[in-house]
Symmetry: C2
Subunit: 123 residues, 2 copies
């Protein structure tokens, strides 16, 4: 199954409310997915404690978005994984990451880009 | 936020029921997480159609496990992401992937190991 997995670690995030308010984080994630043209099929957000971190996922027809926040550190990690079975969803994945990063407004960030799938000719 | 993210693409899976039965897949994932000593805080499994693929996640105190299945292709993709904030959970992540791979019994597999976090000295 070929696909693209984007990860990002965001630090010194200016948008502190998004890191500690599940409803705001959920709305942001669903809006980013919809605006990118991806298809949500379920979502789950867990709040570890009032004012504390959140772990959330949006399940997609194309795979998933996952977000973890640490408001006490101003830190967020992002994953957007899209399979490219019936269409190339790479551009959509890039748009989700860009929208989320713009919203969190990190002072510094580190992203990685993982091509997934079995390399040609390899068993 | 430093952490380890393991991915795997499994093909020619012998354990076909696990790819198309959400209850069986859910039980497998929760057992693998528990046996590895990780802490589930929520889970969500979506079945695309009877006999069809499943997308599932287990949210963890340590981050998440995600599984996507394509029974029509005999294919599964796995993600286990653990943050190493208060403890090194790398060995636990390895154990989850090993347990899931043993259960799916793929004819071929391709795994990747992604170290996550902001590299030292980089902004």
């Amino acid at each position: 199954m070929n696909g693209l997995h984007l990860t990002a670690e965001l630090n010194e995030c200016a948008a502190k409310a998004l890191l500690a308010e599940p409803a705001a984080l959920r709305a942001l994630c669903l809006a980013a997915v919809a605006e990118a043209g991806l298809t949500p099929v379920g979502e789950l957000f867990h709040h570890f404690a009032p004012g504390g971190g959140i772990t959330g996922v949006v399940l997609l027809a194309e795979s998933h978005l996952a977000v973890h926040t640490w408001p006490e550190l101003g830190a967020v990690t992002l994953d957007v994984y899209v399979c490219n079975l019936s269409a190339d969803n790479s551009g959509r994945a890039e748009r989700v990451v860009a929208a989320l990063e713009a919203a969190f407004a990190p002072g510094r960030r580190h992203g990685q880009r993982l091509q997934r799938g079995t390399p040609a000719g390899r068993r």
